[in-house]
């Protein structure tokens, strides 16, 4: 018989174990309570599926010239802070736009973005020869800055500023080259040897100059520019190489040792050869053809070209008959050279700290750097070097995993290892991101990095 109606106590919502109230029993939380508490906990989202990897710029090295682009290193923003002469490890540089190309000169840096905005190139560092264009001083409107401490825009005299894109920049000792996709090459800076591609004017004053020269007369579109110390190299789409500037070491490769002030096509062993890359930073130059051969000309005092000739200056491009495999990329430093082969191995020759220990000081024949120094092992057998770059006395290699290895003379902390000593074999630089490109200067370096996630 239905007895008295009994109030049926419904189970309430699952409450966390610590809020038992006075009705529940005491004791450690049971597994069911723990599981319910866990399922009731909120889920936080820090990033979504469409999050893009961010592009960053890291700089390190000597900062007093302003080449690092961080003004607080040179002029601290608080009275008690000390100026930082050397930045020994990578330091992030905040930029407004995504930087696609960077170049380090002798005490100055150029950063370029391939945007269609009006401002495409920023420069920082030494500006005594207007290698960064005219930077109007804010204190005195008639004068320009001699040292630029922050990346400042460089106005270019473009015909179509909202359509032209800057592809690449390159810096030498006191001049800079800016390559655009449709308006040729812009040059600025010191022209005492004709390295800017215009006629040398006697007693010209280069500081606070507005002059930016435009070069358009080549056999086809220019696709790469490279700056040596006081000369410039241009590589065109058809595979030919043009040069202008100082030639006392034969670095213009035009068959004479005089100054050239108009870009002239090189002949010699590279006549008719399709060149896919040129490189220079000091007084020696290297070019790589599409078939994997390497050609060199210029200074050979440090055995850079001793494999073909005994003379210390070579003024015509010569083929370097190395039997090391097909060459993909070459990098030419002040006294040492390096090439990267198709298999991903680096070969070095020349003089100085070449990367094979303190005993190897000079060699005329390329020697391979063992791949185990770049992280290759039986455990990781697919690691290989993807790019090689040279500064004046140091080398930088990028692996396919996005790691940066440096070696050479550690002038004013330019290697970025955190120590002031020279590095005799490849050493990893800790950068918080995947390194996409690196530019080496005399005493500083700039790297373009993509963040991990």
């Amino acid at each position: 018989m239905a007895g008295a109606l009994r109030a049926i106590r419904t189970a309430g919502p699952a409450r966390p174990f610590h809020c038992r109230g006075l009705g529940g029993a005491a004791g450690p939380p049971s597994t069911r309570q723990l599981r319910e508490a866990e399922e009731a906990a909120p889920v936080f989202q820090y990033t979504g599926k469409a999050a893009r990897r961010k592009d960053r710029v890291f700089v390190w090295g000597f900062s007093y010239s302003g080449a690092l682009g961080v003004p607080s290193f040179v002029k601290p923003d608080a009275g008690w802070k000390k100026p930082r002469r050397i930045q020994p490890t990578p330091y992030r540089l905040e930029t407004e736009e995504k930087i696609s190309s960077a170049a380090c000169g002798y005490g100055f840096t150029l950063l370029a973005s391939n945007t269609t905005d009006i401002t495409k190139v920023w420069g920082t560092g030494l500006n005594k020869d207007s290698q960064l264009g005219f930077q109007r001083s804010r204190r005195d409107q008639t004068k320009g800055y001699e040292y630029v401490l922050e990346p400042s825009p460089i106005p270019l005299p473009l015909e179509k500023p909202q359509q032209t894109r800057v592809l690449q920049v390159s810096c030498g000792r006191a001049h800079s080259l800016i390559l655009t996709d449709s308006e040729g090459v812009f040059t600025m800076g010191n022209n005492s040897y004709g390295q800017c591609g215009r006629k040398v004017i006697e007693d010209e004053i280069y500081s606070e100059s507005y002059l930016i020269h435009q070069l358009k007369e080549f056999d086809s579109r220019v696709v790469q520019v490279a700056c040596g110390q006081d000369h410039s190299l241009f590589r065109t789409k058809k595979g030919s190489v043009y040069a202008c500037g100082w030639g006392a070491d034969g670095q213009t490769g035009l068959g004479h040792y005089n100054i050239t002030s108009v870009p002239t096509k090189l002949r010699g062993d590279i006549a008719g050869v399709n060149i896919i890359q040129v490189s220079s930073y000091g007084d020696c130059c290297l070019a790589v053809s599409d078939e994997g051969d390497v050609f060199g000309w210029g200074n050979s005092e440090y055995l850079q070209l001793a494999s073909v000739t005994e003379t210390t200056q070579v003024n015509v491009p010569r083929h370097l008959p190395f039997k090391i495999g097909k060459i993909k990329e070459a990098a030419c430093g002040g006294t040492g050279n390096a090439v990267l082969t198709e298999e991903g191995n680096i070969f070095v020759w020349g003089y100085g700290i070449l990367g094979k220990g303190p005993n190897l000081i000079e060699t005329a024949v390329p020697e391979m750097i063992p791949p185990s120094l770049f992280g290759w092992s039986d455990f990781n057998s697919d690691i290989c070097v993807a790019h090689i770059r040279c500064g004046l006395g140091q080398f930088a290699a990028l692996t396919n995993r996005g790691e940066l290895f440096v070696w050479g003379k550690n002038l004013r902390g330019c290697l970025g290892t955190g120590r002031m000593e020279d590095q005799y074999f490849p050493w990893r630089v800790t950068v918080p991101g995947e390194v996409v490109d690196v530019a080496c200067g005399v005493d500083h370096m700039v790297s373009l990095v993509k963040s991990f996630t």
Binding site: A37, E38, A41, P42, V43, F44, Q45, Y46, T47, G48, K49, A51, K356, G357, P358, N359, P370, S372, L373, G375, S377, F379, N380, R401, G402, E403, E421, D422, Q423, Y424, F425, W427, R428, T430, E434, F452, T453
Partner: protein
Amino acid sequence: MAGPAGLFAVYKPAGVAWCRVREAVETRLLRELNAAPRRAPRQQIRFLPTPAPAPSGGGALELVPTRVPVLADHPLVQGPRFRRLKIGAGHRLDVKASGVFVLGIGHGNKLLTDLYNCHLTKVYTVGGLFGKATDDFSDTGKLIEKTTFDHITREKLERILAVIQGTNHKALLMYSNIDMKTQEAYELAVKGLIRPMDKSPPIITAIRCLQFALPEFQLEIHCLHETQQYLRKVVHEIGLELKSSAVCTQVRRTRDGVFTLDDALPRTQWDLRSIQDAIRNCRLKVETEIEKTLGHRDNSPVHQLDVQTAHGADS
């Protein structure tokens, strides 16, 4: 007669403290060693008084030489032959971890110190789970936070692992205390033989992803001077780096120096026969490794131990 002596490896199951494993092996070995048949007791000639046979004498006692066992050799007087065995443990494993656990018996304990000084790498299989963060970095801890993880891909994880390997490789070269400017340092770096031979913080020499199925993943880690809690912390930090969170579900040591999973004895084989076979099988490997790494230092102790362990294992 000494018991067995030498080095062998057992498989420590998860959820058990390492000292319990050591005591269990010791108890089992003691039981088997004490159950073995003992030497027959010594016999002696005693002149025992016995009543003279009738008819002559009749009640007088006569001393008769009899062969009796020496009472001092009776098992109830002597007690068990082995009361304790000297069993030492190699690199320890904590309660939640499992895997290869090296033990040494008798004279083999001296080889344990030598193996420690060789500073060989250990290999772990570490399992992780994305989406949770707990206070002790394992899935049994108190929940701190839950996060989303559907943005994680295998490429992102491998990028993080590559950079972990890179920074640890740098630490490996730095803590090895070799002057980087010498030719010797360059040659060791080329061969990959540089590693810290003294105390150093935990260093991971190699790390790679074995399996990846969201939310779970499994890593293989080769490391030096580590603790299992450090490996769980590494899993937690990988989760943070990927803008999510991760906990460690499993830590399993698959190799400790020269001892691999094949050499490790499971619980069913913790008996005298299998242990003696294991000691014999591993002896050569251990000696060659110690010889290679420490051989250029003093040679004599290793050879003396060699002779002693040979005698101990054969008996």
